[in-house]
Symmetry: C2
């Protein structure tokens, strides 16, 4: 059966939407990318984008081949509150990276983010708004301190992943998950609930939000 | 003046040695690369390699266009001992990365290490043996604990650099140096002098050395 004109439901349509979304996200960042613009570029109705992917966030996760869905993971690790959050976060993080399928996908994503400016921008916006900011909200962290706390958490997470899975520096590369959790968890915990050092840090964070 | 046969001192010779060294480091790693093999590949006498670069370490620093010389920086920040080491380390690290010339060179090096397996291997060996191990020795850290402490330090350093200079997540990307030092320094300090959490961590580190 020959298809003509505007695309309807098919694997090709899905791929065309993902491809259009990749271009629009790259051009406008996560925040600036509109479903309407993505649909126009793919030559489909916006309703079809929603039909296939539900939300802009789900579409983004498909575009970057995200190894996890923060909408599912975040409520699980923030649910019990700030007590023990550091250890839960590291445990959940390593569960993704130790996975034989999701691990390599996650590594590819990190490498891409560190390589391309446009990819870094997409990832930065997504990580900032959809992961870090949302995580701090779920933990009910003081909004004035949340951005700084979140970016400090991100610094330890990205470095742990870089050393253990990309540079593979021993013994951190081979330690059992629970030993890593026990050693790095307290750092996350301090960044989330400990004192923010530096007199102007919160004011500066506020200014930059 | 025409040059014939074996190369003698000239900019070309220096470049030929660096080029040969790059290939030999890539093939054999930092530890396995011999000056003799590098000289043979460049078609020069090993004495000429020493004449131009002094040591294998200096040659390596030239090959990777290293933004700093650990042989100079490490004694300076470890000299005063473990007290305040965390803050001195972060301050010295950011001094490199904030520098308009050395900063981009350092970022290029990190990106390369995360991208290529051969580059990651060179960097890993160099970072492990010439930077981390030496730093722990200078601080007189218990050798049984040093590798784990060093790799934990590396995880926070790489992540801080990745978030602040590559992914540029705010507010950490724009905070004044001293605010970063005050917030991240204590993490380094804990990794170097705090308790190692996890019953088997030291034994595992010992096993992996």
């Amino acid at each position: 059966m020959a298809r003509t004109g505007r695309r309807r439901g098919s694997p090709d349509t899905r791929e065309a939407i993902v491809s259009a979304a990749r271009a629009v996200f790259a051009e406008h960042g996560y925040d600036g990318a509109a479903i309407r613009a993505i649909a126009a570029r793919a030559g489909v109705d916006p309703a079809l984008v929603h039909h296939y992917f539900g939300t802009k966030e789900k579409l983004f996760l498909a575009v970057v081949a995200a190894p996890f869905d923060p909408g599912e993971v975040l409520p699980r690790i923030t649910g019990p509150g700030t007590d023990g959050f550091g250890e839960r976060l590291i445990r959940a993080l390593l569960a993704v990276w130790e996975d034989p399928v999701r691990g390599p996908a996650a590594l590819a994503l990190l490498r891409s983010a560190l390589r391309h400016d446009w990819s870094a921008r997409m990832l930065r916006e997504f990580l900032t708004n959809r992961v870090l900011r949302r995580g701090m909200q779920l933990l009910e962290i003081d909004p004035a301190e949340a951005p700084l706390r979140a970016s400090l958490v991100a610094s330890q997470i990205v470095g742990l992943v870089g050393i253990r899975y990309a540079l593979r520096i021993e013994p951190l590369a081979s330690l059992p998950v629970e030993v890593v959790v026990a050693n790095v968890g307290p750092t996350i915990q301090r960044y989330v609930t400990g004192p923010l050092v530096g007199r102007d840090a919160v004011a500066i964070a506020e200014h930059l939000r």
